[in-house]
Amino acid sequence: MVVVGAGIIGAAIAYECAIAGLSVAVLDRGPVAGGTTGAGEGNLLVSDKPPGPELDLAMMSLRRWREWSEEHEFEYEPKGGLVVASTPEGLKALDGLAAEQRTSGVESLGVAELAEYEPHLAPGLAGGVFYPQDAQVMPALAAAALLRHPRVTVHTGVTFTGLEGGERVTAARTDAGRVPCATVVNAAGTWAAEVAARCGSDVPVMPRRGFILVTEPLPRIVRHKVYAADYVADVGSDDAGLKTSPVVEGTAAGPVLIGASRERVGFDGRFSVPVLRRLAAQAIALFPVLAEVTVMRAYRGFRPYTPDHLPVIGPDAAVEGLWHACGHEGAGVGLAAATGLAVARGLTGADPGLDMSPFRPGRFA
């Protein structure tokens, strides 16, 4: 089989399929982790998802990530997430969400004394909820580790150009020749619509731009992933305009990462100083101690989003042998493990372990 895309989704699918006994060729026009995988924080989050199919997928994924972390080295850090509310009303809504999430297996803990979790948080916040299952990985390292499986071959710098075959797929065409195969998986992330079009199909995946600020390395002054309750609303928002909410976390390597912004501006890669300013101001509001901390770098990425904010996972509605696994928006790293499992199980005729119908590619028709 052929997987198009050497990001975390393509790597997860290749790895799980290889474990299931398949030989996998992974193609990417760029390097490993050269797209959205290399432009995010590497979140494995359950805290930001309301109950529903995405949360179920995230829970399944979290379990698999934990198993992967025992076999591979990719800076897996189960540090937990702390969601904070500035007002009593906000806290009430947050507690309500946590109660609902609990029915899906999400563990959480109401926190009245925020300083016990994060001593440097701004005073005056109403409270928060701690999610011990939230974790983080270094996603590029994770993708590289998974792609090292002996039944996986990686072809970087190779562009997928289309399918061969009549009734069903017989080969993948590339700018470096054809690769015979019965299955092609579109794991091209934010660029998945382009790959689908080359297969005579379509998936409605579009880019949603985000920026991240990276500080100088610091001692652990931010212990968890900490974000404001508004973030959950921003993630699910259909607003095309700029949305920012503070997301602050320390990393094992020392720098603090500061997000998160969301804008629908196509593939406009330019940096926006006003967005960076808002991220900085919101981070300082959450952690006043950061005011004197230095930003060393900033980076930008494009999340692959779909009209209903759910990923596209499953066989193409028309082209036999073509599968899609894309459109995970900002949750691709977190959802990668379950996506890999579900595709591998689907291709080998096994039970996916979850109702995958909400993610079926044909749902937009």
Partner: protein
Amino acid sequence: MPDADLAVIGAGPAGLAAAGAAARAGLTVVLLDPAERPGGQFYRHRDGDDGRGHHHWRDYLRLAGDLEGVHYLPGHRVWHAEPGEPHVLHCLAGNRDERPVTVRAAKIVLATGAHDRALPFPGWDLPGVMTAGGAQALWKGQGLPAGRRVVISGTGPFLLPVATGLLKAGARVAGVYEANRPSAALLPLALDPARAVEGAGYALALARHRVPYRTGRAVIAAHGEGRLESVTVARLDRDWQPVPGTEKIVTCDALAIGYGFTPQLELAVQLGCAVEDGPDGSAVITADAAQATTVPGVWAAGETLGVGGAVLAMATGALAGHAAAGTTPPGALLRRRARQRRLAAAIAAAWPVRDGWREWLRDDTVVCRCEEVDHGALKRAIADGARDVRSAKLLCRAGMGLCQGRVCGFPVARVLGVPDRPNRPVAQPVRLRDLAYPDTSRGEHR
């Protein structure tokens, strides 16, 4: 409302010439530079400096004395340049009392210069090893020699003034090792009277101090317990692979290495200017005959277009100033630029960086000093699917540290076999509060 018609970034030979030409043509000009004094790297000097030991010092005095009508802002570091109408330059000013300053200008001349290029080899991270430019800056800026007994290694004509500078500062120069064999290529130099005299002066100084100048040789390893004590010098073949059996040990307490210069292009890239491969392997700004970049209202001058020396930089700077002001430049300026460009091309061809230096690396040789990434880790990242500088950074952290790949970008790109394309949206470290609240801090420009 823009603060000025034109902002010139960089007060070296190119920037000074650009600012002067534009101001004389009637533009209001802001000249920004990170240093406390004008002159850039080339005319780096100290208080009360009489210019002895500086080449073309009279040119400097003329340029620096010609800044009437130019609003000169020393100590200003631009961390981000935003294109628009007007263009907006986000700066940090001052040292101990750093503050954010925003400068708006209808037009920009980029004269951001170049920084030293080093190649890694075993031991290059020992204290006592520095860039040739660093050794030069120590002498020009503070009158200090880099060490008592100094070895110089690398390639290019720049090694010669570094050697004579060290001699003037009182150091012993144990040897100058030039990796190329540029004898035949010296011909075009001789065609330029000013340079021939310059070159003869260096040769005389080296001879008088009995400094060995050896071509086709380079320092391929540095040794010492905790700090530099000696180096291994070897003869190189045409591709710069060390010739076995030719290694010899030279004792020294300082080593200055210089393998050319890399143009500083982060502000150009932030503005959206197209860049291309320069003649010596580093990227340069794409510019037309009038020094215009691909972004409207942005011109480029000096070493950002490829390293060519101070005389060429002054010519392209003055031309950029004329172009920004919309005035016709004197024909002599165009002729000088053409002549100096031919010379720069000949020099670039005579002093290339050959790929054989990669044979100097061992697996445990540090490639990225900030993150302490060694050559073995870089090779593993390549095996894991790194194909460009960004993916190498993600997979092994090379270039992720404080210098953002300014030092290791060129060698890492060469090991990967790809062009080095600078992409640093935050060009200078900036405090979060200065980023968040630029307008509430003190010292807003004007």
